[in-house]
């Protein structure tokens, strides 16, 4: 039976890119449905009634939601180019740090994007403190997955693209090469990887997009 794969995402969502990258690594063909989150399609609402969010992967008509759940589904369904480590302990560590990134790094960075002054400084400080754990993980490795990109690289992939964009918008440094030599190198290596480099949207469009997200939050304060 021919496989039918669809990905519901937006053109700029970092969580959507996790799925794009994973499918590219696995060499899988799929259809992209780009959503406008201010006007969600009926199909998206049907496939993700609980959260009404992207990304959603639909495989032969069956929806899978939540990007990290989707990554594991992709890895378990298509065995070529494994994303997660084989050893149970290494697998547990990859899952732990992916969750850490989503719970403790992304939120304060998002908070810094949506605020200014003291609140923004706090967001940046929290993010930087937590990024130090991630820096440690890269000791002796090119990628979090070792020699090649794996699950944890994909989970953190948004940093390689978005951090410099957000730094430009809020005019604050998050990852400087002196404090984070390994993470800085990883961000370059990840972005330069043949699988990744053609996937990012144009930088100027992303800057404009995220400035657009930030705007309404600042107006609320004024």
């Amino acid at each position: 039976m021919a496989e039918e794969l669809k990905v519901f995402r937006t053109w700029s969502s970092p969580f959507g890119f996790r799925i794009v990258h994973a499918l590219k690594i696995k060499g899988l063909e799929y259809e992209t449905i780009l959503e406008d989150l201010s006007n969600k399609s009926d199909l998206l609402l049907k496939y993700n009634p609980i959260y009404k969010k992207i990304p959603v992967l639909v495989h032969n008509g069956k929806p899978i939601c939540e990007s990290l759940v989707i990554l594991e589904y992709i890895d378990e369904t298509w065995k070529q180019c494994p994303l997660l480590p084989q050893h149970p302990y290494d697998k547990a560590m990859a899952r732990f740090w992916a969750k850490f990134g989503d719970d403790k790094i992304f939120p304060p960075i998002r908070s810094a994007l949506f605020s200014q002054g003291k609140e923004q400084e706090e967001g940046v400080a929290t993010a930087v403190g937590n990024l130090k754990f991630i820096e440690e993980l890269l000791k002796g490795k090119k990628f979090f997955g070792g020699d090649t990109i794996g699950y944890l690289d994909l989970a953190f992939g948004w940093m390689a693209n978005l951090i410099s964009i957000l730094e430009e918008i809020v005019d604050m440094k998050l990852v400087d090469a002196e404090t984070f030599p390994l993470l800085s190198a990883w961000m370059s290596n990840f972005s330069a990887d043949p699988v990744i480099k053609d996937c990012w949207p144009p930088r100027d469009k992303m800057v404009e997009r995220f400035k657009g997200f930030r705007g309404p939050h600042l107006k609320k304060v004024a």
């Binding site: 899978i64 759940v69 589904y73 369904t77 302990y89 697998k91 547990a92 754990f133």
Partner: protein, 230 residues
């Protein structure tokens, strides 16, 4: 004195620790349970084993710590592969189980706790509606996952049974303290029956705390402290 290769740090008053304990029981893994109070000062071993979050449960296998309850359950399932299977074997069923387990932790448990811990009647009412709505969704999920059997995992307890079942005494405590019905025989009949079957399972029955004990704990450590802050 024999040193156990597997140690579990925590207290069974924590639903997250309960998950790990049930998984170890299902696989008949010999282990040392090291009791740690939720609010107690943490030992060096504890802090060294979970320096990032400083939370329970912590599973120590050999000299390697594994943290986060759902990650621990998956680890146990993989390492003691010859025992009963915890995660579904089909990748899609596995994704569904993982989705709902994450929903419980990211959304649902926080909402039902808010029934007794939030301030003002409006907030409590909203929390109750969210809590019940979540259970209605899980009732539907049960139909799909159980495929006519007793548990989310089929004829045996599985990942989602553990992920939800660990909260059953908290549910009971909230029902009593707030005088509400969450897992209700008429609204969620399948979950009502499932809860009974889950609680008497061999891997579970000695793990869940007594309702009175948890209620006292919740009253003292959460509710009373909340009132004292007002």
């Amino acid at each position: 004195m024999a040193s156990y290769e597997v140690k579990l740090l925590g207290t069974l008053l924590s639903p997250f620790v309960i998950r790990a304990k049930i998984a170890l029981n299902l696989k008949s893994v010999e282990h040392e349970f090291m009791e740690v109070g939720i609010f107690a000062k943490k030992s060096d071993l504890f802090l060294k084993s979970n320096p990032v979050h400083k939370k329970m449960p912590i599973l120590i296998h050999g000299d390697r710590p594994i943290c986060e309850s759902l990650i621990i359950v998956q680890y146990i399932d993989k390492v003691w592969a010859s025992g009963p299977v915890i995660l579904p074997s089909d990748p899609y069923d596995r994704a569904i189980a993982r989705f709902w387990a994450a929903y419980l932790d990211d959304k649902w448990f926080r909402r039902i706790r808010a029934i007794i811990l939030s301030q003002g009647e409006e907030a409590k009412k909203a929390a109750l509606e969210d809590g019940i709505h979540g259970l209605v969704l899980l009732e539907e999920a049960f139909t799909k996952c159980s495929k006519g059997e007793k548990f989310f995992g089929g004829d045996k307890i599985g990942y989602l049974d553990i992920a939800l079942g660990c909260f059953l005494v908290w549910v009971r405590v909230i029902e009593i303290m707030a005088n509400v019905s969450l897992i209700d025989e008429s609204t969620t009949p399948q979950l009502f029956k499932w809860a009974q079957d889950f609680c008497v399972d061999d891997a579970v029955k000695d793990v869940l705390p007594e309702t009175d004990k948890l209620m006292e704990f919740v009253q003292f450590n959460y509710v009373a402290k909340l009132k004292s802050r007002l």
